[in-house]
């Protein structure tokens, strides 16, 4: 498996803020499996742009609120 992408996400917090939405509920809402949502949440898998937009749409926020690019921080280490 390739190295984790320099992207962080706030899916866990967003799920908590949306009535403790389960991974399965989020997965059903975006047409994915719970395993894929778990992998995205743990930053083990980078979703496609379409999936990222779908996740943001479920939470009613901009995509930048869900996913943050961390390349600059990685280079600074």
């Amino acid at each position: 498996m390739p190295a984790p992408p320099p992207i962080s996400n706030t899916i866990r917090r967003l799920r908590f803020e949306h009535g403790e939405m389960t991974q399965q509920q989020l997965a059903d809402a975006i047409g994915m499996t719970r395993q894929t949502v778990a992998a995205i949440e743990q930053n083990k898998y980078s979703p496609s742009l379409e999936a990222a937009f779908r996740i943001a749409e479920v939470f009613g926020v901009e995509i930048g609120v869900v996913f943050q690019w961390k390349a600059d921080e990685e280079q600074g280490r």
Partner: protein, 154 residues
């Protein structure tokens, strides 16, 4: 565990047991220099049928126990996992098939010296079973790669 990973586990386990036994029996026949094409043909068909009879209900039971769909559409991560495993499985199959082609002269020599009654038939039986073996082996490796990837993403 996703349904596709469960199916991969079922396929690996069943294949190892059923086809492991089949190819072991072929090897035993070869070692005894008693290759019978008709016997092996029906033995393979039986093994194939038993494997299907085990795998299909096992997958259905696994889906029912997990409250999952039997054959859900793959999402993008699953498609990626399938693509990677297919790529490695196909590459392995190509290499093994070329190896069989390169070994065909040696196989013919064995048939000529050790199966003097019907060397042509023995050559065909050995080649067919080698092709079956590498096909099953490549499929097994492919399923194992699927499981490894699912475990890495879990």
């Amino acid at each position: 565990m996703s349904m596709r990973e469960k199916v991969a586990w079922i396929a690996v386990t069943t294949s190892l047991v059923i086809f492991g036994w089949y190819f072991w029996s072929v090897w035993a026949d070869f070692a005894a220099r008693q290759l019978d094409g008709d016997v092996l043909f029906w033995r393979f068909l039986w093994c194939f049928g038993i494997a299907v009879v085990i795998m299909l209900p096992a997958a259905m039971i696994a889906a029912r126990l997990g409250g999952q769909a039997f054959d859900p559409p793959a999402d993008e991560m699953e498609v990626r996992i399938e693509a990677i495993s297919n790529r490695y499985g196909l590459a392995l199959l190509e290499i093994l098939l070329v190896t069989i082609v390169l070994a065909s002269k040696w196989i013919t020599e064995i048939a000529r010296t050790d199966f003097t009654i019907d060397p042509v038939g023995a050559t065909a039986i050995m080649l067919v079973n080698l092709i079956l073996f590498v096909t099953a082996f490549a499929a097994l490796v492919r399923e194992i790669i699927i499981i490894i990837q699912y475990r890495m993403y879990a």
